[in-house]
Amino acid sequence: MSQLADTLARFAEACSRNERLRQMNHDWNRLILVQPDDADPHWLFYQGGEAAVVEEGGEPDLIVEGSSAVLQNIFSGASTPTEPYMSGDLRVRGAQDDVMRLDIIALLIWGE
């Protein structure tokens, strides 16, 4: 398993364990494609307040793109998504509300 795959698995597990995030995301069912510029893609799936890494998906609701290092930093909590997003090092495509929700999840999940 790659380092990013391992980080995403821990991110999904932390989301699912976090009661507040489970409540916030109870009605948020989304498929997220995490696409490193320099490696194979990964898929995150949110449903009923729980998150999981899945093997493959269909049409994604959100696409998160960047270098493996940037994605690794964001999903591990080493850095916040805002600055790489504003600088263009992180690219997120999807509905604006979904993009903001993913920002908020990333900001809330680490340090609780």
């Binding site: 507040r20 409540q23 916030m24 109870h26 009605d27 948020w28 916040t80 998504p81 805002t82 600055e83 504003m86 604006q96 509300d97 903001m100 929700r101 920002d103 908020i104 900001l107 809330l108 340090g111």
Partner: protein, 303 residues
């Protein structure tokens, strides 16, 4: 006569001009909506710098205060820095001192009662009002995540609001302001009904009127609303939906009530005292401000 101008990132269709009396002195006030255009707002502020006595910022905050912490909002700061001679205020000085006093008075008058549920559409930009409502014994439901991010998660205590604010605000203020607050034509969009049940469950609806209007889809029978910046059409619309009591924290002039930034700009223009000065609290309390209260059947107006 002193002159103040409010530069709002909101719709220009709400522009107006009037005369206020503050500390016994008349002040000419006007609002100029920029329809969401930041570049235009910067140009206008630059053009008015040194030509008016104070400038207000509408539709964007310069500072957000959450508990003991104050966060600078980069866009608001950028706008404020566009003026070098004229003071620029965002209304946070009025929110910090005057709005809690209004809540205390409404509680003393039994318009607000312990045990009521108060929906604050956005509490992070009005933390002192939220704190005053909680201190008056009301149950808070803060809608910051609902109305700014469309996340159906009501925040039910001041402590959780502060905790979430400390985690989210330092990053969220870096995002484009249009993602967090309705500006330009968004202020005139049809109401979004997705959080209707929180309005239905509330006894009191409080906070920024643009957020309220953006999500206000149902009836308001028997409810109290505590807000600012309403026009005569807004008041008619609220009463037609059955609102029992409308309280605006600013006085009504020529059919409309003004935003906190307008009041603060007028007060700064007349007194020369700014919100960061130790004398600010006394200046606000001495200003003779009064809330505007409307109660239909019969409509009782107290100004």
């Amino acid at each position: 006569m002193k002159t103040v101008v409010s530069i709002s990132l909101g719709s220009s269709r709400r522009d107006h001009r009037a005369e206020l009396t503050v500390l016994g002195e008349p002040v000419q006030v006007s609002r100029r909506g920029m329809d969401g255009r930041l570049d235009r707002a910067l140009e206008v502020i630059h053009a008015l710098d040194g030509r008016v006595d104070a400038l207000g910022l509408g539709g964007v905050d310069r500072f957000l205060t959450v508990g003991a912490r104050r966060y600078t909002v980069p866009v608001g700061e950028q706008l404020a820095q566009a003026a070098t001679a004229t003071p620029v205020v965002d209304g946070s000085g009025i929110k910090a001192v005057w709005e809690p006093l209004v809540v205390e008075q409404l509680a003393a008058d039994r318009i607000l009662k312990p045990g009521q549920t108060a929906l604050m559409v956005s509490a992070l930009d009005r933390y002192p009002m939220a704190a005053a409502l909680e201190a008056a014994g009301l149950h808070l439901v803060c809608g910051d995540l609902m109305f700014s991010a469309r996340i159906d998660y009501p925040i039910r205590t001041l402590a959780e609001l502060a905790e979430l604010g400390q985690r989210l605000v330092p990053e969220m203020v870096k995002l484009p302001f249009q993602r967090l607050y309705p500006v330009g034509s968004e202020q005139e969009a049809e109401p979004d009904p997705r959080f209707l049940r929180h309005f239905q469950d509330a006894d009191v609806v409080a906070g920024d009127f643009h957020f309220i209007r953006r999500y206000l889809a149902g009836r308001l029978d028997g409810k109290v609303m505590l807000t600012t910046s309403t026009t005569a059409d807004d008041v008619e619309m609220l009463l037609a939906r059955g609102l029992a009591t409308l309280v605006t924290t600013s006085p009504r002039l020529m059919g409309r009530t003004y935003g906190t930034n307008v009041l603060e700009a007028a007060l700064v223009a007349v007194s020369g005292v700014r919100a960061e000065d130790p004398a600010w609290g006394d200046t606000v309390r001495a200003a003779g401000l009064s809330p505007f209260v409307v109660r239909p059947n019969p409509r009782e107006v107290r100004a």
